[in-house]
Symmetry: C2
Subunit: 419 residues, 2 copies
């Protein structure tokens, strides 16, 4: 066994032991740890910024993109946001030990389904150092131990943040191994993490498609992943024009780089040109490139020609593909073929059309008369989220603390033997 493998196994064993303690930890202890960690983060601001500065210098020397540098950079505000995030998670209700369901059987046996933690969660992410705090805290809230593996660019920043989380755990009397990280930037460590079924119950990757696909292929541990966010907004014939304008603009342009941003606008054949034109106009005015089919191109000379690949492209940018569809049926067929089961929306004044759309579209989140950018755990009232699951197993849609739990059945008898 290689030294690295032995080191990883030790990490896994420590996490498993910590998870057993955490599963029985009272809500107060977990919340105290989060509040103490927030305090430590504020107190260690200079140390964190210094560590981040080391990472930034190394990253610049490596010539990484400015977008990635921006994700990596920390400043006073971002560090304060991290601390505040921990306090917000502490303030949520505890998701563990809740009675989810209870019933009696005719023979008098009493059944109760109760929420419990999942166990040990491995989080693999890219450059944002704040994920260290967010993910570690959310796992802790749900009674899970976590093993964090951030991008190598953020190694020093993540280390400084982890120190604060572990200070919090210590002050609350919880095992420090409840939140650990892979102590090396060696890529082989990820390979080991993905095969540690004996210690790790779930892997959550956060990052680009390449990372996610690699992990889904390699992992022997179950993976909860967010793949693509190719979201559509469909303008039904009964869409209110003013609402359509406002919602589409928001769905595309509020933030173009998030997974809930609309990438394709489908317009019903019976939604008039005169109501569509102002939408295209407003988008273009705001700097959005429009790629349309032939019918859309006729409406505005600035519309570029959409190619087949556009209907399958998640731009994450100020670009929108726009297509006329014959009717709602064609809209739904297009979505179910090209969508990514993430978030889909219909704008219509017809409740009947909305109900059919919401039933027939296969996606984690199906929205009526609102922006697809509401696809976010915070907007759902879940508080923090660790991501949005595009799979159907275990958790679908936003993954908050509650989605990081499992359950057990408690059965109570009076000496029942099975006939």
């Amino acid at each position: 066994m290689s030294e690295l493998k032995a080191q990883m196994d030790q990490l896994g064993q420590a996490a498993k032991t910590a998870a057993q303690d955490l599963a029985l930890a009272p809500a107060d202890a977990k919340n105290n740890a989060l509040i103490a960690a927030a305090k430590a983060i504020r107190a260690q601001l200079p140390t964190i910024l210094e560590a981040n500065n080391k990472d930034m210098i190394a990253a610049e020397a490596k010539g990484i993109s400015s977008a990635m540098l921006d994700r990596l950079a920390l400043d006073n505000d971002r560090v304060e946001a991290m601390a505040a995030g921990l306090e917000a998670i502490a303030a949520f209700p505890d998701p563990i030990g809740k009675s989810l369901k209870s019933w009696d059987q005719p023979n008098g046996l009493k059944f109760e389904q109760v929420s419990v933690p999942l166990g040990v969660i491995g989080i693999i992410y890219e450059s944002r150092p704040n994920v260290t705090a967010d993910a570690g805290a959310l796992c802790l809230k749900a009674g899970n131990a976590s093993i964090l593996r951030g991008g190598s660019e953020s190694f020093h920043s993540s280390g400084a943040i982890l120190d604060c989380l572990q200070t919090g755990l210590q002050e609350a009397g919880l095992p420090v191994a409840a939140i650990q990280r892979v102590p090396t930037t060696d890529r082989a460590a990820v390979g080991h993490l993905l095969t540690m079924n004996d210690y790790v119950d779930l892997i959550i990757p956060r990052g680009g498609r390449g990372l996610i696909e690699r992990i889904q292929t390699e992992s022997r541990v179950p993976v909860l992943a967010h793949l693509d966010g190719l979201c559509h907004t469909y303008l039904h014939e009964a869409a209110d024009p003013k609402m359509a304008l406002e919602v589409v603009l928001n769905a595309k342009m509020r933030r173009t780089g998030i997974c809930g941003a609309t990438e394709t606008l489908l317009v019903d054949a019976n939604y008039s040109d005169e109501n569509l034109k102002p939408i295209l106009n407003a988008l273009i005015d705001k700097g959005c490139e429009i790629r349309g089919d032939a019918k859309i191109q006729q409406l505005d000379s600035r519309v570029k020609e959409a190619s087949a690949v556009d209907w399958d492209t998640e731009y994450l940018d100020a670009i929108l593909s726009v297509k006329r569809v014959a009717d709602q049926k064609e809209a739904i067929a297009h979505i179910n073929r090209h969508g990514s089961n993430h978030t889909e929306a219909i704008i219509t004044a017809s409740d009947q059309a909305a109900a059919a759309f919401q039933q027939e579209v296969d996606a984690g989140i199906v929205i009526h008369n609102a922006s697809t950018q509401f696809a976010d755990g915070g907007q759902f009232g879940m508080g923090a989220e660790i991501g949005i699951s595009t799979g159907k197993l275990h958790a679908r849609g936003p993954v908050g603390a509650y989605q990081l739990t499992s359950y057990k059945y408690l059965v109570r008898g009076t000496g029942h033997a099975r006939p």
Copy 2:
């Protein structure tokens, strides 16, 4: 691409298309299909028995074990039980389209979580031909298409049963591809099935540990599995002796070959020898071999010596390992170390001891004052079950129709743009 791979892809594509239809099928259509299938099974009794006879002759010629022959054999009663099973599943409430939760956010957005099918489920099982009917029907009930792969020994029997299921689908106007099977006994077909992520959402293996482990290692599709059933019963110091005798006898001897059978009895140091002796005596009288630690061996000369491996052995036979533990803490530590997270029981008159046991033991089912043999979806009131999951992801414990579902979020606004 090999011919087999192409054939499997075609099967997967057909299943996926069928699943899209099934997801929108009304409860009545699904139930009508099940009722019509039951009718077809009764009508085709001679055909089914003839097909089974072919399988039995081939199996005998291959010299397979008598236990396996028994699992393979069909007769009038077993065929009738299959038909009745389909009707029972038809009679359950529909698990799809249920509102699981709903809430409003302060901004007026309305949220609803609604149950939906998982999609396409691959079922891989061994010799019992009745699994063809049970598994296909349970998947259908939850709106899922299924691809069945039974053991090669039951190939003709399963084919005859599948014909009846497809007759039912046809009569109800549902796609025949809603229940398909791998049309070859070529083992390579399983390899393909396990990598068909584009078409298959979940794999459920049913069989021995070897089969399950092979599938968990090979599968690129998520697996919901039952691994071991190493169940314990713990006699607490406050256990009622009469109840203890009755429940332990049932937990071990009612049926020794099922996963919920107790394999190890843990006896508290303060549970008296005079109350323990009659239990050992009754077990031995019923033909149970006892393997005990030194303290247990002293009680009865017929008790054999337990070796270290006994504490990790799921006998599935009339054998019980028995150990004295110092206290409840040691009992729980033993269970969490040697158990398989399946079903664990405590016998005690102390509600406090029971509550601590139920909280601290990490298992899908934790029972107070009843036999571990109640670990069964039917006994839980779920009606049919496809097995018991020993993992913590998605479903834990008995897997019935409801556990074969996912959910989606419906969001309703009035033109909400995200600030």
